[in-house]
């Protein structure tokens, strides 16, 4: 659906993107992940045909971005970093305008309008002036704008930035509900977001792709051991030794509180059953046992610090 080959973008002397290539299948949700200034927005602007690459080719739904920009534009819905809203218009007026410049016919526009207002939860505020809407609603209007012409490809630049936690969840659910019927690329600097919504993560750093993989795979590649966190009611020094003797446990150390322990275990060895048995037998009073998964945050830190590509 999206095919990017050897794309480089230079602003004068500055190289914003350096020879990036990737392709995305139909129906996938993919996250562009990277610190601010990594080249996420530049990549998206090239995909949408807003600006041309210095070199390299981009194909969207089979159309070349430079040779057939109009076809590409018809196939893309784009939500820039700040939603492109005409604040003086009402929601319906605004969406009508967008529908028309996306070249929808009057009847088609009417059908899409009703559907999109429902899908984005804007039906109640459709007659209100956008200037009077809250940030969350404005973001929804931004999404509605990207969806109005039912494009197969959706490009969302930091769709949840600046929203409160409830709004973030709402927007994420909305995006997830669009998966399957749409191919979605979103950019984010929030790692949790990429893990929560996306099947594939493309990590960009200093204009280069440092990793392309699923969030789980990325984590697995980077971790050598698993960590278990254990909290008991009655801690005693004996327990610490006994825990160390369970097979598969590499190291036991005291946790942040006197009654908690951190156990480093070998990958693939599930010691949880034995561990609970031991704690119960000793009457230590099991309070909590959790596995500490390597977060994308860790992956990200490792990847963007070393220049070695992973995956």
């Amino acid at each position: 659906m999206i095919d990017v080959q050897h794309v480089t973008k230079q602003y004068g002397q500055v190289t914003a993107l350096n020879n990036i290539s990737f392709s995305i299948q139909k129906g996938e949700i993919v996250a562009f992940l990277g610190p601010n200034g990594a080249g996420k927005t530049t990549t998206m602007r090239i995909l949408t045909g807003f600006m041309p690459p210095t070199s390299g080719t981009v194909h969207i739904a089979g159309f070349d971005c430079l040779e057939e920009p109009w076809e590409v534009k018809k196939h893309i819905g784009y939500l820039p970093e700040s939603p492109p809203l005409y604040l003086e218009l009402t929601v319906t007026e605004y969406l009508t305008f967008v529908g028309r410049i996306k070249r929808l016919g009057t009847e088609e526009l009417q059908e899409r309008m009703t559907l999109i207002l429902q899908q984005t939860g804007l039906t109640e505020v459709q007659g209100r002036v956008i200037d009077h809407l809250s940030r969350g609603y404005r973001q929804r209007v931004g999404l509605a704008q990207a969806l109005i012409h039912n494009p197969p490809v959706l490009i969302l630049d930091e769709p949840t930035t600046g929203l409160d936690p409830n709004q973030i969840v709402e927007i994420r659910d909305l995006i997830k509900s669009l998966a399957g019927s749409h191919t979605i690329i979103l950019s984010t600097h929030l790692l949790a977001e990429a893990t929560a919504i996306c099947q594939k993560v493309i990590i960009i750093h200093q204009g280069q792709i440092v990793a392309i993989d699923s969030p789980e795979q990325l984590g697995a590649k980077l971790r050598q051991s698993e960590i278990l966190n254990l909290t008991v009611k009655h801690p005693d020094p004996e327990l610490l030794n006994a825990l160390g003797k369970i097979s598969g446990v590499i190291k036991v150390s005291q946790g942040p509180t006197p009654n908690s322990y951190a156990l480093e275990t070998q990958i693939g060895e599930d010691v949880r059953e034995e561990l609970t048995k031991l704690v119960v037998e000793r009457g230590a009073g099991l309070l909590e046992l959790t596995t500490q998964t390597v977060s994308l945050e860790d992956v990200f830190k490792v990847l963007t610090k070393s220049d070695k590509p992973v995956g």
């Binding site: 600006m51 784009y78 970093e81 003086e88 410049i101 070249r103 929808l104």
Partner: protein, 258 residues
């Protein structure tokens, strides 16, 4: 059936113009100043008439076109120079500032359609303001007789002159995301064209003098409000607008291809 993209842009622009207070403020100032100026011109004319009557002890027939309308058209030109940049400043600057430009430029419509739509919308607003000032000659016609032809030509001159200034403002607005800078830029460009006219007289009837005076709108405007319809003046205004249209188009291309 889908709507022509230029119509879509025009409709949206007109909607935006009329929900913003700017147009009403500009319109009110424009009409108030012109009202005052025409009152002053009429008062002046009647004073002169009285004086002539006292001197000659006869009923004097004054040429109202010369006494009222020509000076009025001349001062309207000056007011336009100040007021029209305020009308055009938001056209592109606001789109750039609010990032709505990204929406326009990633939609399947051409830059030529965007520029044309924006230009047409602002010409329509200006024509509306101009139409309201027609109340002045209409009111006067109830009390005095005068020749309508020079007045119609005067309005044509105002329309062309204003549209040229609007096209300059359109270009200026495409250069920046700051509306104030856009306004000053178009004001500066218009003022520059005006000064060229004054400068041309310093060179007399030389080639340079002629070129300068052709480039400036002063001589073209003067001829039209004097009631002279010349092909060369019409060509001047039309080519000027077309040139500024292209310049605006180029500025937008440069913005996205930078």
């Amino acid at each position: 059936m889908s709507m022509n993209p230029v119509h879509t842009i025009v409709a949206k622009e007109l909607r935006s113009f009329f929900v913003s207070p700017v147009v009403y403020v500009i319109g009110a100032i424009f009409l108030a100043v012109i009202g005052l100026l025409s009152y002053q011109a009429v008062a002046n004319a009647s004073n002169q008439a009285l004086r002539l009557m006292q001197l000659q002890n006869t009923y004097a027939q004054l040429n109202l076109n010369e006494m009222i309308f020509r000076p009025l058209f001349q001062s309207m030109n000056l007011i336009l120079m100040i007021i029209l940049p305020l009308l055009t400043m938001r056209l592109f600057a606001e789109e750039r500032k609010l990032r709505t430009f990204e929406l326009l430029l990633t939609s399947p419509i051409g830059v030529n359609e965007i520029v044309s739509g924006k230009f047409l919308s602002v010409v329509i607003v200006y024509s509306g303001l101009l139409a309201l000032t027609a109340l002045i000659p209409l009111t006067l016609s109830a009390y005095a007789t005068f020749d309508w032809n020079p007045i119609i030509l005067g309005y044509l001159a105002l329309f062309l002159q204003g549209s040229l200034m609007l096209s300059i403002g359109l270009f200026a607005s495409a250069l920046t995301e700051n509306q104030i800078i856009a306004a000053f830029l178009s004001f500066g460009l218009i003022l520059g064209l005006w000064v060229l006219g004054a400068l041309s007289s310093a060179f007399g009837d030389s080639t340079l003098g002629n070129i300068l005076s052709y480039l400036s709108f002063t001589e073209h405007y003067e001829r039209l409000i004097r009631g002279l319809l010349n092909m060369k003046d019409l060509v001047y205004y039309i080519t000027g607008m077309v040139f500024m249209w292209f310049a605006a188009h180029q500025a937008i291309d440069a913005y996205r291809w930078k």
